[in-house]
Subunit: 309 residues, 3 copies
């Protein structure tokens, strides 16, 4: 039996290097197959539920397209207002209900730990599509896949991660994967949005090579990958605080022209103002390719969890 | 021609015993077929509209999965805010519009009689997925199917129905079906939420065996089936009234251990607090199996209405 | 290569007479094919995104059913509240994101010019499903198709267009197509809701036969087609103004009995009160057939844009 068959996808920490390599390999294969056909029939008859208790375009539509391009179908909701939650139903009951209908669940929920809570009662595999400021493992995997696909090797790279490192679940799930590679991480953030101490502690325990700094321009000099993130307005209690910090780092074409010419720029999107749109046409601007990789990685995960690879 | 072909599914009262038996039989067959394949191709090319003018997870997703597992597809909306209703369109016009697109309609609407109103102008079959405090016939059929599937025979059973009997459309549609069986019904409710007088009158006219009481513990002694329902907050005008009544009956593991050891517990869900979650692991806790039966019964009805059985 | 392959559908003005004829022909063919089968397999594997930033039942569900009846599948959203727009994402970024998932995009957006803006960055074809008070080309094409299908020839007809001609994008897109026919247009509107001057100017430049009037009854005498439109409440800044104008024209059975006996009545729907429901059973009441034509025309366009005709 394949290692992911019947498993939940809950957090970056659940994967070892061999498993990540195997997911990268399946994603590469699907990428090839989609060059000659728009959809596959691997999951014909399977139904995925997308339970999005919080707004999302990207992740929900990415899962839904991934399922459809595998030949499966989708049910679900987007926004809790249209669901039984307003009648006072617990998350566990919602999950145990949806279990009766579908073969797999992809969910997003504002509360940290909600995906684990769901998985603990679910009889079908659960994909964590983001649990508050917690984990977002499919995003972390698609980030890894993007680096792999943009420059071949992750070992030996210098990766700069910049922006709201305090609230960015993308980053939090990410470090759980980067630690399996022989790469150097440079964390760039305003003081108030630095990486949480526990994560810094963990990086030390794992023996990762990393630095923390305020200085993006300097960090970019030696970077192979620059990973920008959005300052997450919705996590701020104080709007003035947000206004002060929102433009801490704004990447411009000029800054890129002074950096490593092979620099690849990534972003989990949506972006607000942290990457100027004049960066978009540059060959190193990888963030929309990254979106496509998201669909491909999710196809791989759905198929692997279904035991169809 | 099969008796349901091209028909609307509007209320419990439309079915006689032979017809119910026939729906149970088709549902049993689909249940078998789904053991060996996740989906069938019976309704390939058919499109179902799910028009939900009121929040619902369960019923909408149940219809949608049922259609997909029959090989058909779905369009629709959930919540009237995103529809032409805000532009002042009548229900009749919405239905006559949707008629041009789809092969069948499943709808939920807050107004009693809305499904009949829709069916009166519709050129395609209409499934009533709940019309306010009115009818919910597919729920009633899945309840009957659950009793049939949990204990074989409905004739000879004692069925306790407990909770908000005033507003519970599940119960109102249900009695229309129970009357075709030689079973005893015990209605347990707080005084203010007793079964509406008209329904009590009807039960008498039909010559049904039934009792009304406040005393759940006593009723449970002789029960084969205990059907719990939620006190429906959204139907109360006075919030204090709701607070007073919401915990009138709370089923605990302790209560069950003193009852008939073969007792099966059902609930239309969502539940709030009327069944303790420590009841869930008991073999008699049938409410999540009941959810699955909902999908299966709706598959049977969709296929029969399409004339494909 | 077929003329529409890979193209955007943005405005009525993009089509010449030969192209319109070709779309009519394909629509006729699909209409025939759907008589013997509910769905085709032409676009199997294709995914359409329906991005509706503004409420719509008709247009969204029409596109979705069209795609499904061609064998394709759909992802999307309805109402911007559940999307990344609330996180501050630009339309361009949303489009470039969705580009990574799907083969085609159908969109509605409240801002004039939004569809063109989307198309300017999109790598997949964009269908304008209405951009504010701007264009709605698939509606204009289905209107033309309805006249063609109701009475064979458009050349030689007299077409009365009545109601909110100021805000009606249906009308604005429509004149771009009517101008290719040798027909006479009579515009009937209250003074405050007359056709915008630029459009009147254009009609003159094109050398179209047309009149403007307040008098519906008189206009109906010579009409072959009466095209009614809704006074668009949502475009009024002043609610009193709307109240004054909303019942400027109310079509009754009595009025029709005095007009041309072959008169066909059309309406883009939803209607509020501008056509009495007692008109609905008349053989000339074509507005619900018009809705079906909308699905058929969109099937034709989707297939042609995909290069599958």
């Amino acid at each position: 039996m394949q290692f992911l068959e019947g498993k939940d996808i809950l957090e970056g920490a659940q994967f070892n290097r061999k498993e990540i390599d195997s997911i990268m390999k399946v994603t590469d294969d699907f990428k090839q197959e989609l060059l000659s056909s728009r959809s596959l029939d691997l999951l014909k008859g399977y139904v995925l539920a997308t339970l999005f208790f919080e707004p999302s375009t990207r992740t929900r539509l990415s899962f839904e397209t991934a399922m459809q391009r595998l030949g499966g179908t989708v049910i679900g909701f987007s926004g809790a207002e249209a669901t039984s939650v307003v009648k006072g139903e617990s998350l566990e009951d919602t999950i145990q209900t949806i279990n009766q209908y579908v073969d797999m669940i992809a969910m997003r929920h504002p509360r940290i730990g909600s995906a684990k809570q769901a998985a603990s009662v679910s009889t079908v595999p659960v994909f964590n599509g983001g649990d508050g400021a917690g984990q977002h493992p499919t995003q972390a995997l698609l980030d890894i896949y993007t680096i792999h696909s943009e420059q071949g090797d992750i070992d030996g790279s210098t990766i700069v991660l910049c922006g709201d490192l305090l609230n960015g679940r993308t980053i939090h799930s990410g470090v759980e994967l980067y630690r399996h590679y022989d790469c150097k991480l440079i964390f760039v953030a305003p003081d108030k949005l630095r990486l949480p101490k526990e994560i810094v502690e963990q990086l030390r325990t794992w023996g990762c090579k990393f630095e923390e700094t305020n200085d993006l321009t300097n960090a970019m000099k030696e970077a192979d990958i620059l990973y920008m993130t959005r300052i997450q307005k919705e996590r701020f209690e104080n709007p003035e605080e947000y206004e002060k910090l929102k433009n801490s780092y704004v990447l411009t074409r000029e800054m890129i022209e002074k950096a490593n010419p092979n620099l690849k720029i990534m972003h989990p999107l949506p972006r607000v103002s942290e990457i100027n749109t004049d960066v978009d046409p540059l060959p190193g601007a990888a963030y929309f390719r990254q979106v496509k990789n998201g669909m491909l990685v999710r196809m791989a995960l759905l198929a692997m969890v279904a035991g169809k690879v």
